[in-house]
């Protein structure tokens, strides 16, 4: 069970019955510039740490969550970066328009020097195969394969469909698929033997100029972007085009990159910005970002660890919330305003509270949504619900502002107001959390720990509790948020006494002990490395 931030207005599951594909809850625009010079963002890479790297017309930058930081620039046109790759050892490879190849480790860049020399035309793609060989595609010299000792060339004289190669991809890390100006070439290079097969217009490819190849979520399927015919699905095992809802009467210009999301394809185009293809509806949405200041040429796309989509576009980076976060503003005629708390429970149910009411949303296997409302108090006396938690018996705890605490049996819909604990009965409940047999509530009068017993399966059975206040070491009675960490320590975000932690029956207040300076703390979170993150007021 996970309690989401109570002020979030958006639900991130698939329940929506109404949503607008073209509207993303959050977009961010980042200018890419250096000393007031405008750079052109050509290509994006996400490294294994999750950092976004930007290959620009003037070198390489890394986005540090605030601004793009320059990593490499040679002050000349040779460092016009056209492609980026991180290999399995964490080495960053950058290909340049000049044919230069740069490697970066620990933010230190060096130019690759090989006895064979480097290509003299633009590097258009870099790929690493399962043998850890690095493949370079070029705009005019075919493909190069670097095995760590030698650089090998594979070009039209070897049977490659064309020396102008736009992209590389490998579904299995062994056979390389090259998108060229004359269709697809399937290349394998083992023990010095080159094997190349074609798939071009004579085989049914609608456009011979293949501009990008991307992974699909379907087995043996890749997504192919073309210069003038849009996007198609290709079965690599059968070497044939897959029939899909994507039609080839494509009016949106050259495809530069494709990212497949669960329901959508996000398509970067040369002249029409980002196009969204909804796989369920077989429909396109253009002007996805709906902002006239966005440039129309999108050269590359990347997803980050959170699921945001990043687009490289002229002098800007644009990020938006793909389909992991959709704007859900109404369902079944109900407009979701003033939602103060949301709970996604362990049975894929969403509990949320628009306009002082409690709603439960579920979805069946066919994708049909169901919405059910509960009246904890009569409709004319609806109360502000501020906290939700589902306990080990499957009962929902409902905290209110001014009307205390309720516990509801989800199956029967019956509920009981927790009257046995005065601070719960009279209190303003700010937060509810729990783990195993413990349920903690925070109020404006301190905190309370409830201890569930087997008999508490019965809704009417009273629950044992212990109340704590600032006198017990909390430091403050105004508690905004409670977090139980993986070590079972209980953390408190207080107003007036910073952070406190409860461990082995004792409180430690970090502010009072001068261990942490912030006096006002709003919320707490634990990351996968068991670090505790603290949001503060004005610090």
């Amino acid at each position: 069970m996970k309690l989401l931030n109570p002020v979030i207005l958006f639900l991130c599951f698939f329940i929506p019955t109404q949503w607008v594909a073209a509207q993303y809850p959050f977009t961010k625009i980042i200018d890419v510039e250096e000393e007031n010079l405008t750079l052109k963002a050509n290509v994006l890479l996400k490294d294994h740490f999750g950092f976004i790297w930007i290959g620009t017309s003037e070198g390489i930058f890394k986005y540090n969550s605030t601004v793009p930081e320059k990593i490499f620039s040679t002050q000349d046109t040779k460092s016009n970066i056209t492609v980026l790759l991180e290999d399995v050892n964490g080495l960053i490879w950058a290909g340049c328009k000049s044919g230069l190849i740069i490697t970066i480790r620990n933010n230190k860049a060096s130019i690759l020097k090989l006895e064979e020399g480097l290509p003299k035309v633009a590097i258009t793609a870099i790929y690493q195969d399962t043998k850890k060989r690095i493949w370079f595609a070029t705009a005019g010299e075919g493909i190069y394969c670097y095995d760590g000792i030698h650089l090998y060339n594979i070009n039209s004289k070897d049977g490659l469909s064309d020396d102008h190669v736009n992209c590389l991809f490998s579904p299995d890390g062994k056979q390389i698929i090259a998108g060229t100006d004359r269709g697809l070439s399937f290349v394998s290079f083992e023990a010095g033997k080159k094997r190349i097969q074609f798939f071009a217009s004579k085989n049914g490819l609608p456009d011979n100029i293949v501009t990008c190849i991307s992974a699909s979520k379907q087995i043996n399927i890749i997504l192919i972007g073309m210069q003038s015919k849009g996007v198609l699905l290709f079965n690599t095992a059968k070497a044939q085009i897959v029939e899909s809802g994507i039609k080839n009467d494509w009016p949106y210009s050259q495809v530069n990159d494709i990212i497949e999301l669960r329901d959508d394809l996000i398509i970067a185009t040369e002249q029409n910005g980002i196009i969204c293809f909804n796989k369920l509806k077989n429909s396109f949405t253009k002007n996805v970002l709906q902002d006239t200041i966005f440039p129309k040429r999108i050269s590359d796309l990347q997803t980050d660890n959170e699921g945001n989509i990043w687009a490289a576009s002229e002098n800007k980076l644009i990020s938006f919330t793909g389909d992991y976060l959709k704007y859900w503003y109404s369902a079944k005629g109900i407009y979701f305003t003033n939602v103060h708390t949301i709970l996604a429970d362990d049975e894929k149910r969403i509990w949320f509270t628009p306009d002082l009411r409690l709603y439960e949303s579920t979805q069946d296997n066919s994708g049909t949504d169901y919405l059910r409302s509960y009246d904890i108090t009569p409709p004319k006396n609806h109360i502000d619900i501020t906290g939700l938690y589902k306990d080990r018996f499957g009962c929902l705890w409902i905290g209110t502002m001014g009307e205390g605490l309720f516990r509801m049996n989800i199956e029967t819909g019956k509920w009981r107001r927790i009257a046995e604990n005065p601070i719960a009965f009279y209190g303003n409940i700010l937060n509810i959390t729990g783990k195993d047999n413990q349920v903690w509530i925070s109020t404006l009068n301190g905190v309370s720990r409830f201890n569930l017993k087997k008999s508490n399966y019965d809704l009417n059975e009273k629950i044992d509790f212990t109340n704590y206040s600032k006198k017990d070491g909390l430091g403050s009675d105004y508690i905004y948020h409670i977090l139980i960490d993986k070590k079972n320590r209980v953390w408190f975000a207080t107003d007036g006494a910073g952070v406190a932690v409860f461990e082995n029956g004792r409180f430690l207040n970090f502010y009072q002990q001068k261990l942490f300076p912030s006096k006002v703390v709003y919320s707490l979170a634990e990351d996968k490395n068991q670090h505790i993150w603290i949001s503060t007021y004005n610090d």
Partner: protein
Amino acid sequence: MFAQLKSRLLFILLLFGIHHVFAQNTIGVYMVNKNLISFHSKTELELIKASSTELKGIIDPNKRTFAFTVAMKTFDGFNSPLQREHFNENYMESDKFPAASFSGHIIEDDDFTKDGKYNIRAKGKFIIHGIEQERILQGDLTVKNNIIKMTCTFTIFLSEHDIKIPRIVHEKLASEIQVVLSAEFIKK
């Protein structure tokens, strides 16, 4: 036996057949005039070096193709006659594999018929000790008054050509041999 025959046949083809390969249209073809090809193996214990001026070769700037060959027994300048003997008999097996060769095409699209300096890469089949490896060799060309001067430095990895080094001379013979080639070509 078959490998020996194949190697000899290849040597004959390369050495004497170069003219025939390009014979159909020899206009504008450049032949090696003067040359020096040398190699050295450097280890902590010993520096072995030798050279030959018997490189045969041809470049067709129009087709951007080339072919070179050198007979192994033409290398001289070793530290001792015994070293030369070991080179030919033990390592290169020069009777069995008499020549090294490199043939293929030039990757760059530059027009080498015009005077100028060019950094080029030649992609082709490099054969030594009867073992073929595809290689890209980088070199500099200077074209002036119908004379092409070429310099090229590259490395031969003995293991890639099945040239076995007895354990007893491991410390005296490097596994990577550095080769320096300079040649002047004149228009035929």
